[in-house]
């Protein structure tokens, strides 16, 4: 089987369009996951609503992302674009994971830090914002970084709800030209092209924050 360069020339520009969507969905979804996960990790410590939030997140964590995507996509109001649904579901799904990461980070902060805060009567906003979270988050930056890569690799699932990311174009054009092999290979290549440098960047960040 010969590699079809003509088809490559046709499909690559479309795949790059798709890559933009993929990266966009990953980055926004990741921000949602970071913010929501943090909120969940904090609220989990509150009486009564904490356990409820925990149960919901546990449910999200133990059902497949694909099922969640399709479920929300079919339920979503018609004004909501597939991309918005995709980003939201990705973000919420991964928030269930980042919440656990934050939780372990928060629990890793020495008990004495809470007691020192208490002895100084610091207001809760300072306790969390100036003492506990800066220490907790520093420790879990590597784990959080890993979820960015994992999330990026999960974006092809958005294809199932018609988001025009890379897989959408690859499968469309690949089928049309009977060149699925080239199409899929190129998608894989583009994924590697983005995730390897990202992984290196994340490791570098990790090393920087691991000190102290």
């Amino acid at each position: 089987m010969m590699w079809d360069w003509e088809f490559t020339a046709v499909v690559v520009p479309r795949l790059l369009d798709g890559l933009v969507i993929t990266v966009l969905a990953t980055l926004i979804g990741y921000l949602v996951a970071l913010a929501l996960g943090l909120a969940v990790a904090i609220v989990r410590r509150v009486r009564i609503i904490g356990p409820i939030v925990h149960a919901v997140m546990e449910f999200i964590r133990t059902t497949p992302l694909l099922v969640q995507l399709l479920f929300v996509f079919f339920l979503a109001p018609s004004g909501m674009t597939a991309l918005t649904v995709g980003i939201t579901v990705l973000g919420v799904h991964y928030a269930a994971y980042t919440a656990e990461v934050y939780r372990s980070g928060i629990e890793g902060v020495a008990k004495g830090q809470w007691e020192a805060c208490r002895a100084l009567s610091l207001p809760p906003l300072r306790v969390w914002g100036a003492v506990i979270l800066p220490q907790a988050i520093r420790k879990v930056i590597p784990a959080l970084g890993n979820y960015l890569i994992a999330m990026f690799k999960d974006t092809p699932l958005l294809y199932a709800i018609t988001v025009q990311e890379m897989m959408f174009h690859a499968s469309g054009l690949g089928g049309q030209y009977f060149r699925n092999f080239e199409a899929i290979t190129l998608v894989g290549l583009l994924f590697v092209l983005v995730s390897v440098p990202s992984a290196i960047l994340i490791r570098r960040l990790e090393r920087r924050y691991a000190a102290v």
């Binding site: 007691e115 610091l122 100036a130």
Partner: protein, 272 residues
Amino acid sequence: MPLSDTTGAPGPEAAGGPLIRFEKVVKRYGDNVVLRELDFEVAAGERVTLIGPSGSGKTTILRLLMTLETVNDGVIWVNGDSLSHMERNGKLVPANEAHLRRVRKKIGMVFQQFNLFPNMSVRKNITEGPVHTLGVSKEEANQRAEDLLELVGLKAKIDAHPTQLSGGQQQRVAIARALAMRPEILLLDEVTSALDPELVAGVLDVLRDVAQTTDITMLCVTHEMGFARDVSHRVLMFDAGRIAEEGTPEQIFGDPREERTRTFLKAVLETG
């Protein structure tokens, strides 16, 4: 430099009464009764040393005062305010966070493990409480931090991070941090026992200085008998959650009446 702020309006029971009063205080952890109907009082300005064997409840007493723990029974009064209850419409109701914060502001604590905030500079460690709890201006808090670091001999380290300091230096910063809140009461729980022997003297010197230059009420758990003799007015010997013996340092260390005190002091002298 005024280290203690005693302008707070005293509670109804405070006039002439003790600053701290334990009234039949019971503290249990599960089945383990740590304090058994403990009664004792500390007057304003008094320096009290708590000694006693491991597990006798010394740390628990300080932690109860700092409201890091709550009593199971009995009442702890600080300046006429109960740590577990407050008055509302003439009735006693369980204390809320606002009440605790108000009472707690009078109390400072220095921990065995220092518990400095590792993510903040020395300056920030000391100004955090005054700025965000007491509402002191940044400039004033900074001035306080500088004065206190001068007192503990660490002015040069104001912009260092705790991780760059020795244990003794960290503990001196922790003392400065507690004093920056201008507490009426200072709680010291074995503040030198996590330190290398050569660093102990520096910390104790700072505390002697605090005792000499201020009128802060001090409750101090320590195995440093020389220090206890120098600064304290009264020594309480605890055993199994009760006061086994109390007296002046001269009497307790020189001529203990109780057999338990004698055995304990002998053991401390041998190991310390």
